[in-house]
Structures are given as structure tokens and as C-alpha cells.
Subunit: 125 residues, 4 copies
DNA sequence: GTGGTCTAGACCACG
DNA sequence: GTGGTCTAGACCACC
């Protein structure tokens, strides 16, 4: 369920955070689903438990999960609050992406065409 | 010409590298133009010369600039080699961007519309 | 494993880079092997850690090694990509070598004979 | 007659030294031929006169040229003394070249074939 | 513990 | 004056 890319330069705990966020937003992880325990996940990924702990702490602080003492961590009921916020953030980043594309002398038509191609590729999966 | 954002978490030397890369690609810096000397730029940005040195070393290694000892650093004659490479890299990243957009349940139409909007905004500048 | 010649005029960091490159190409260092830590190697060679850092940074940028923060540097899985590139570079340099030999009035036969002699010497080790 | 490559990392004065050495060894520059004056050559190459001065000083110290006060610098009568020495140096370097080739897993046959090819190419010029 | 970034200050070769 | 290398020592993020 959770995969890590060691070649990737982004910190492991951040990879875990993003991974869980995406799974929640996509609806793969339903509310109140139990997450793997810190120690189990650490074993499975052969990673330091501290790293998992840090990821879970961030997820909790962002309202994506909630802990029950002695039981474990669970997906929080997420009334789309996270989604819209993430979408806004995304559009902000997209602005920079377009600006960069223009610097690279990429035409609007080429850009849009490529986006549509990628959308279709993704839909066929 | 070269500005640094100290708030930004990305390393200073990397900011300088990207800044120069963009200026070269956009054609603002013509081939054989002399860059500010390591010491001068360091003074101007109130930064340690070593940091500038590091940035220049990377730019040299990437073929964007070439040094002449005792004279200074100069923009390399760049036969668009850099540009096409950068464009390919860009399209690779765009793929991830689209995948992320799909996860965020952003429709293709909305995505494209936003891109076109940003393009037009940029053109009016 | 890694030795430095202080008499040599070539920079220390470059000596280290070449040394590791050769060990990788020769297959002495298998993929995912851990390199000595920056600080350890610095101690061992009684050199400043920054110098090691510089060498490792170059090796990373060339795709010979990859770092995992908080863990160390490791040999990259190198699908012979490095080897062929190095061979091409070598043949380029060889061209200059031959041109120089001709200037020195060295006959083709003598040149070839000497090469064969050196090859055989190396094989007997 | 004398050309300089600014892209080349080797110092300019060294380039000049090597250039003259080769021309002498190849016999292009006969003994007692007058070299361009320091100032003239500096102008021609748009280079600092000190650099030329340094190159001439080295050439004189190596016995390739001799100065006559108030007249200029001239090619020394070179009874092949330089040539044999250079050839020996060359064979020394060749040893390292072969060692490196072996590290790169280049077969003896390929090496020799390439050398012969380069020799023939050079002869057809 | 690890790698990564940065500063301060020195020395050298080159022009 | 220029770039290039190196040292010493500090701080940070990550594991």
C-alpha cells in the first residue's frame, strides 16, 4: 500500500505523508480505516520507527488521521475540506509551471495537447 | 540581474544556478557575456564567495558557462542543446503533475482552462 | 581502498572521484555497496570533510553514487551506461595521443609494438 | 601560426609552449628563425604580454629558443636532443593510457585497430 | 550517527 | 584583478 523511493531526494517521512494524503483523497482509504501500526510499518519498510512516527504526527496535525490510545491510528472523516484546499494549492503551483513553460518557449498548443494526452493515458489504465 | 530569496528553502547556490539557466535560455544573457566575478557577486548579495563558486562550478559542469582563469566566467555558446533537454525534462514532470491533478479529482476541462488563462495573463505582460 | 597522492598536482577531490569511478567500472564496488561516510573518510585520509563532500557530490551528479540522508552514500546500480560513455571519451583522447605521436616522429609499428608490450605486462600481473 | 583555445583548461602560456615545441620538432620552425616579438604576439592574440613572456622564458629555459638582446627571440639549433626526451616521456604516458584502457575493458585488438585507423587518417591529410 | 549547506579565511596559479 | 582549491568550524534536516 505504501511504497518508498530511496532514490527520491524528498525525505522519507514526507513521502509517507503525501502517499497517505493521496490515498485518502482518492477515497481508497475510507474514514475510520485503521492504519498499520508504527512498528509494523517500520518493519515492513525496514525503516526507523521514528520516521513513521513523524509522518503520522504530521498527518494527525493536518487532520487526515486521528489516534486512539492503545488502539492505533485511523483515517479521519474528511468532509472534502482537504480536497479543496489541495486543489487551490495545486492551481497556485500550476501558475509557476506555466510561467516556466513559457520561459522554455513551449507553445500553449503543445502544452495543452500534452496535458490531454496524459489525461487520456491515465484514463485507459 | 540576479536576485535571491532568503525565505525560500532551496539552497542559495541552486537559486543562482536556476536564475542563470533561465536567463541564458531566454536569451537575455548572450554568449560570451561576462558574468559578475565570484567576489563581486558575493559582495553584492552579501554572501560567501564559496557559495557563488559552487553555483558557477555547477553551471560550468552543465555547459552553461565557461571560465577563463584570471579573467572571469562567460556565457557559453549554447547551440540550443540546453533548451531541448530542459523541455524534455519539463514534459516528464508534467506527467506527474497531471497524475496528481487526477488524484485531486480535477477535470481535464478545468485543468486546460486554467492553463490557457495563465498563458493569456502572461502574454499581456 | 582509496588512496591519495599528495605529490600529484591534480586536486584531491578529483583524485577521489577518479578512484571511485575506476573501482565502480572495474566492478570492485558492487551496486548498493556503502561508501565510507564523509567524516570517516576525511579522518582516515586526514583531509577536510568538505573535500570529501565535494568529491561525493560530483560522483552523485555523474550518477555513480546516490546518497540517502542520514544513512550514507551508496554505489548506484550502473547499467554499463558509465562504461560506454567513458570508452567513447577514451577513444577521443586517443586520437590526440596518436596525433602527438606522429608529431614526435614515432612510427606506427613502434607505437603498436609498445602498446602490445604494455598489454602483455599488465596481463601477467 | 600560433593558435589558442580559450575553452581549453590548460594555461595559455603552456599552450604556447607546447605549440612552439611541436612546430620545432616537426621542423616547421627551422633553427635561427625569428619568433614574433613578445609585444606583437600579445597584440595578435589579444593577450597579456606577461603571458607571452612567461612562455618564452620556459622555452628558453628548455633550450628550444635563445634570445638576442635588442633583436628578439630565435629558434635554437636543436640536434634532436629534445625529440628523444619527448619520445621517452611519451612512452611513459602511454603506459598509463594502456592501463586505463584495460580498466575500461577495452580489448587489445580494438585498441590497436583504432590506433592504426587514426594513423591512416592522419596520413591522408 | 548520516549527508548537505554555509561562513570565514587562507593560499595558489593565472593574466 | 580573476578563478580554483582547501581548511576549520558551524548549523540544519534526516534517520
Amino acid at each position: 500500500m505504501i511504497v518508498i523511493d530511496y532514490q527520491d531526494r524528498t525525505p522519507i517521512y514526507e513521502q509517507i505523508v503525501e502517499r497517505v494524503q493521496r490515498l485518502v483523497i482518492k477515497g481508497v482509504l475510507a474514514p475510520d480505516t485503521q492504519l498499520p501500526s508504527v512498528r509494523n510499518l517500520a518493519m515492513e519498510l525496514s525503516i526507523n520507527p521514528n520516521t513513521i512516527q513523524k509522518a503520522y504526527a504530521i498527518l494527525e496535525q493536518q487532520g487526515f488521521i486521528y489516534p486512539i490510545k492503545g488502539r492505533g491510528n485511523f483515517i479521519a472523516p474528511n468532509p472534502d475540506g482537504g480536497l479543496k484546499k489541495k486543489q487551490q494549492e495545486f492551481y497556485e503551483k500550476l501558475k509557476d509551471t506555466v510561467a516556466y513553460a513559457i520561459d522554455l518557449k513551449i507553445e500553449q498548443e503543445d502544452f495543452v495537447a500534452q496535458v490531454q494526452k496524459y489525461y487520456e493515458e491515465a484514463m485507459h489504465d
